[in-house]
């Protein structure tokens, strides 16, 4: 890219590489000294599983023990969607009629993907799965559907609400738990399972639509991203 060269020259890149080489060497040498049985928190997690409302340790860590991290991570994902919408606020591209094979495939695949996503979400409580995976699968399905012209992305308020749903519910639960117990994200009594389920399902929905938004905005020919990045280097500002 021509603009890139304007800021980072070849010598600078070489210097950067030379500077980073020792780091790489240190890293490689250090990998050998990772302890065979590293000290970790698995035992503690296992000990407190009973209090977490779920039986799968990963979900317990993500949604309960370190639920705060996850809340912020979902905010990060939301942010990605918001950023994509900010870049290209216009309507999405009109895709042509889908290929008949694709259309046929969609008819079979779409319901299956929705089912799979739902199962993965529910399974998260007791075995590997959860909101991120479910959202990813559902998102993939939505992308397929949009390629097939079945789903049409409309960057209006409805979409805004879908994108923010996960964060909103998570934050709402956090504030609610604060009001109930005086501690943020401390789910009162036996509500933990249901709180987690509410958060996970809404987060999955949001994640799916965030993925769709990202895909749609970044591929739509109307976006400023694709036009500007592929245009010739800009004229110098104000000669």
């Amino acid at each position: 890219m021509a603009e890139t060269r304007a800021y980072i020259g070849r010598t600078q890149r070489v210097m950067l590489a030379i500077g980073l080489l020792p780091l790489l060497a240190a890293l490689l040498s250090a990998i050998g000294s990772v302890p065979a049985r590293p000290p970790n928190l698995a035992a503690q997690v296992a000990a407190r599983m009973g209090d977490s409302g779920v039986t799968h340790p990963l979900t317990a860590v993500l949604l309960n023990f370190r639920g705060y991290d996850t809340m912020l991570e979902i905010a990060v994902l939301w942010l990605a969607g918001l950023g994509a919408l900010a870049l290209a606020p216009g309507p999405s591209a009109q895709r042509g009629r889908p290929h008949p094979v694709l259309a046929g495939l969609l008819r079979v695949l779409a319901p299956a993907l929705v089912m799979t996503a739902g199962y993965i979400l529910w399974a998260g409580g007791f075995r590997p799965g959860g909101a991120f995976q479910a959202g990813a699968v559902l998102g993939a399905g939505l992308v397929l559907a949009s390629l097939g012209g079945v789903v049409h992305l409309d960057p209006a308020r409805g979409l805004q609400c879908l994108l923010g749903l996960g964060v909103a519910v998570f934050t709402g639960v956090a504030v609610w738990s604060w009001a109930q117990t005086g501690e943020l994200l401390h789910y009162p009594g036996t509500t933990d399972k249901w709180a987690i389920l509410a958060i996970e399902s809404m987060a999955a929905l949001s994640i799916a639509f965030i993925l769709l938004t990202l895909f749609d905005r970044l591929t739509s020919p109307s976006t400023s991203l694709s036009t500007s990045l592929s245009s010739s280097p800009p004229p110098p500002p104000a000669a």
């Binding site: 912020l72 990060v76 604060w178 943020l184 401390h186 500002p237």
Partner: protein
């Protein structure tokens, strides 16, 4: 911690309020936007200052999120350093919000700016209120992604290519940091800083972890020679975003480094890293200043000035590290660095805001378009000049106090060679600031095109911030006393001084 009238859960308020504001402004109808924004900004600031007042009165606070407690859960933690950063963010945040409400009044960006901006604010507050290595990573992501989105928001090719470069650098930095955190966890099984005390950087594994952590953070702080992404990103963003980036965002990763290095680093590691950081900081001062001296565009000059000023921040490491000499003075160097961060935030915010107002009015920001602006936009030019005083570290500005304390500490601990660098850096700063400001003092050219009307709050917000940077020099005792709360140095070193 039962305490009449104050629960430690209030620590979450400065995080929750802007997050709720972001959600509200994105989900509610456009008619309510102005109200939600105002409420969000003021509410966040109030929450931040409540925490500040509490910590100032009762010492460091800790809150176990979800009631689990470290190491299993995540703790929110606030000491003097945290609340100072929180207060800095609150002041700048309110100023930026006010400024942006004028700057984007009729612009397309007014829809997308607000939720992203409040998420950025959430990320900053969350970062300053945590003490968990992995949670730092999450907040860094929140900050980094929102910063990139804000840079890209303007949509022009210059802004976009700057944003993409920024994104790559932020990603690489995150990746390096994340790798470091993974290695730390593999070695120690802990992520909370209090549990890691003095254990970072031991053995080859620890050293590699530390190297990754530091490189990641330096890339995000834009310390020379990892600064290349900063000038294009900071100069091509819309003015309120530039202000947020230079004043706050670069401080976030610096804060992590500051917090981890004094406390979690082992003494040997700090002694090894300190001089390197100092040398890089010194080079940044020289390189950034010289580059700023050759820029012909106001915003680029200010951006390069940030490269230089970030360098000053890192000079505290060699002076404050253990074994550097006179122990009582190490704590002063540490505080000087923090104070520099505060006054630079106010001054740089003011400069970018003033530059934004000028750009708004004139349509350009090359030095010749500044001619005669002293008469036509006196408030903005004054803001630029007054903020410049703090950047040049002339008295009585906050920048001067910071530099003086660092200078004295450096000489007292036997590292006098930082003195010529810092004094020379001040002269260079005077050079680049006046090189621009002097154009404003030319008489207005006869053929000067008329100015676009600028909302008054743009100019006055900049001026108020500049005056805060100046006034910090006369009222430095309170912030310094706050910084001493829970500082990683013996308490009597502070009390004797204050």
């Amino acid at each position: 911690m039962p305490d009449a009238g104050f629960s430690s859960a209030w620590l979450a308020a400065p995080i929750a309020v802007p997050l709720l504001a972001a959600i509200g402004v994105a989900l509610l109808s456009a008619r309510l936007r102005a109200g939600v924004c105002a409420l969000g900004a003021v509410g966040t600031a109030v929450a931040s200052f409540v925490v500040l007042a509490r910590v100032a009165a009762a010492g460091p606070l800790r809150h176990n999120l979800g009631g689990w407690g470290a190491p299993l859960g995540i703790d929110l933690f606030a000491d003097g350093l945290s609340v100072l950063m929180l207060a800095m963010t609150a002041v700048l945040g309110c100023a930026i919000s006010l400024y942006a409400s004028g700057y984007f009044e009729h612009a397309r960006e007014r829809q997308s700016f607000w939720p992203i901006w409040f998420l950025l604010w959430t990320g900053l507050n969350a970062l300053f209120l945590t003490a968990d290595l992995f949670n730092f990573y999450v907040t860094l992501e929140l900050i980094g992604i929102s910063a990139v989105a804000l840079v890209a928001m303007e949509g022009g090719p210059v802004a976009l290519s700057a944003a993409v470069r920024y994104l790559f650098m932020a990603m690489l930095g995150s990746l390096a940091y994340m790798g470091g955190v993974a290695l730390v966890y593999a070695q120690t099984g802990a992520l909370d800083l209090a549990l890691l005390e003095g254990r970072l950087g031991e053995g080859p594994l620890g050293q590699a972890a530390l190297a990754l952590l530091i490189v990641g953070l330096l890339a995000k702080t834009a310390l020379f020679p990892l600064h290349l992404w900063l000038p294009p990103a900071h100069s091509s963003a819309p003015a309120p975003v530039s202000a947020a980036l230079s004043a706050l965002v670069v401080k976030a990763s610096f804060y992590i480094l500051l917090r981890t290095s004094f406390g979690a680093f082992s003494d040997n590691a700090l002694a090894a890293v300190g001089p390197i950081l100092g040398i890089l900081g010194g080079l940044a001062v020289l390189w950034g200043s010289l580059q700023a001296l050759t820029q012909d565009r106001l915003k680029l000059m200010i951006a390069y000035s940030t490269v230089a000023q970030v360098g000053y921040l890192f000079l505290l490491f060699p002076v404050a590290m253990p074994g550097a000499g006179d122990a009582a003075w190490q704590s002063k160097a540490w505080i000087a660095g923090i104070f520099h961060a505060l006054s630079h935030a106010a001054a740089k915010g003011a400069m970018f805001m003033a530059a934004g107002a000028i750009l708004h009015a004139v349509g350009r920001d090359d030095k010749n378009s500044l001619r005669g602006l002293g008469e036509r936009m006196p408030v903005s030019v004054s803001a630029l000049a007054v903020a410049g005083i703090s950047i040049m570290a002339l008295p009585p500005s906050g920048g001067f106090i910071a530099k003086w304390m660092l200078l004295v500490a450096a000489v007292r601990t036997g590292q006098w060679w930082w003195a010529p660098l810092m004094i020379g850096g001040g002269l260079l700063a005077a050079g680049y600031v006046f090189r621009m400001v002097k154009f404003a003092f030319y008489a207005t050219p006869a053929h000067a095109p008329p100015l676009h009307a600028v909302p008054r709050r743009l100019e006055y917000t900049a001026l108020v911030l500049a005056l805060i940077a100046l006034g910090l020099g006369l009222a430095s005792v309170f912030p310094i006393a706050v910084a001493a709360i829970g500082a990683p140095f013996p308490e009597n070193w502070f009390t004797e001084a204050l």
